[in-house]
Symmetry: C2
Subunit: 342 residues, 2 copies
């Protein structure tokens, strides 16, 4: 199907020099005479020469490509992180290949296999809500390919992680709710296997404890991040003998869906029920009342993760350390919690 491509051999022949010299001229090797270099560059331009990264990568055993695997693309969080990551990677002449696992463990495994086959030099990954087995990632470790986790991390693997201060942020959320007079604060908690779920839950718990409020287990609803499940969860909460007066949801899509359900029941937000989310998604400022939430430094997360990865690529795998980089997320107060309960 393809036409003939201009290669360095074509250029070498036409200029009556060796392909080694052409290669050197093209890659900016110092030991090439200015004259030769210019001739090569000119002819390359003229013949529409495009370098073949597959060949270069194969010859150098390095692909200059970084794989990014995210669980989803639907909320603005991951695309924003990717923007930051891509930006920094590009500035260091790395390409980025992105794939989304659609919250499916199997797809995640398949995606990482493709990345491996394509010889990525490093992997940035945020796992799916289903991922409990990490064999597919251990292969990278065995091969000496660096991995950096971000957002959805696990401590089952000894690799660097880039996260936000979920615990403190959740703590701040709950404390804010308490300050507005709320006493029965419910929490839609994420899957156990995700560390963000645990950290946010702990922040929630500890804030209650600090203010001598009971941690009522019936107010902590396990939720699997499937939007359809929000409605029954909310209905269960509202059906309690002593229903909650505030709701802290694990993320914004959930909080937003919860607001829609709550409003459809004729309850007022925030008077009857305050609602808070997490992430500051695009929709948080659009819905009415505006959703109080935690703003995450998305671009910075992407940039930092790439930075850590690039740094790892410069040293021997033996020297890698499994530190955790914690970025700062902060509370954004909006209408959904802007009511002081008498």
């Amino acid at each position: 199907m393809k036409q003939h491509q201009t290669t360095i051999i074509d250029i070498a022949k036409e200029l009556n020099i060796s392909k080694s010299t052409v290669s050197r001229a093209l890659t900016g090797h110092p030991k090439v005479s200015a004259k030769t270099r210019e001739a090569v560059l000119n002819l390359a331009e003229k013949r529409d020469y495009q370098r073949n990264m597959l060949a270069i990568s194969l010859a150098r055993s390095k692909s200059f490509t970084i794989g990014i695997v995210v669980p989803e693309f639907r909320t603005s969080f991951f695309p924003e992180v990717i923007i930051g990551a891509q930006e920094l990677a590009a500035s260091k002449n790395y390409s980025v290949v992105i794939s989304q696992s659609n919250e499916s463990y199997e797809t995640e495994v398949a995606n990482t296999k493709v990345m491996l086959a394509n010889q990525v030099d490093g992997l940035l990954i945020s796992i799916t809500k289903e991922t409990r087995n990490f064999d597919h990632l251990k292969i990278f470790q065995r091969k000496g390919i660096p991995i950096v986790f971000f957002n959805r991390v696990t401590y089952e693997l000894q690799v660097p992680k880039v996260v936000v201060n979920d615990y403190e942020a959740a703590f701040a959320v709950v404390e804010h709710l308490i300050h507005t007079g709320r006493k029965r604060i419910a929490h839609l908690a994420g899957p156990d296997c995700l560390l963000i779920s645990k950290n946010r839950l702990n922040g929630y718990r500890d804030a209650l404890l600090k203010h001598q409020l009971p941690v009522a287990e019936e107010l902590i609803i396990p939720y699997d991040l499937t939007i359809d499940k929000v409605k029954p969860c909310i209905e269960a909460l509202l059906g309690l003998p002593e229903p909650p007066d505030a709701l802290f949801a694990i993320n914004d899509p959930t909080a937003i869906e919860a607001m829609l359900v709550i409003k459809s029941k004729g309850l007022r937000i925030p008077q009857d029920l305050s609602v808070v989310g997490f992430s500051n998604d695009l929709g948080a400022s659009l819905i009415e009342p505006g959703l109080t939430t935690i703003d995450q430094p998305t671009h910075e997360i992407g940039r930092s993760a790439i930075k850590v990865l690039l740094d790892m690529m410069e040293v021997e795998p033996e020297k890698w350390k499994a530190f955790t980089m914690v970025l700062n997320a902060e509370l954004i107060k909006r209408g959904s919690s802007d009511y002081r309960k008498p």
Copy 2:
């Protein structure tokens, strides 16, 4: 930095067979004895063998990779299209590499060069609002690499395009507004160089004409898709001696921003001013009142574009035809236009 990788040579040696046979066994070539195949597969598994796509691609002069270039990642439209595209591509064993040009022509050019260097077998692209020169894409054509445009297309290149019926959709929008008694319908029009802008503008014009309404040029505001510019545009419209009673914006982010501006001026939507967008972004159903808009079949756009591309890859470039595939988009009526003017 990297450890030694198991290669087919390692397997061949260990099994005392030739690497060709290993290759055949691994790729499922029919002419391999069941015994040999099994032995190879077992050892491959045992030795943690991962095939090297770079080498395969180089040897076969085919990368099994499709490049997708989109102008942005911030709205839900492009991510959704990519989900559809990736899904179909994966089912045909193609990987997809994505890059976003951030509405910058230069970035777009750089991104396509990277795709070229990485030997993509085909390119799916939605151009930036700045793109007027197409030399970077003509290189693909010269090399016999198929291109398919989607959403943001141009007729300056003879390639297949996948779009929605923008004209009819815009026509439907305006007709809907007219049916609700609106007579001064403004339009925030997109950049001239994008065909979607022209088609939507034409649909707008023709709907007015059909209903014997004047096409008032002062109500057609040129707008460059930069959200910051929405406010002055709206202020200009509201400052007119005869201000509009409805607004049709080129896309949802614009319409949403316009709603915020309009509301901040104390005007009521839809009573004082109806607003309609285009794309049915995530935010359209969240803002209040809900934004009337055009729903685009995002996944289908992605799938169709990949389908067309894959089909092209099966035939000689000489046989490629530059048809346009038009998918159906439809009006979704919500609160922002739900008021019959007396």
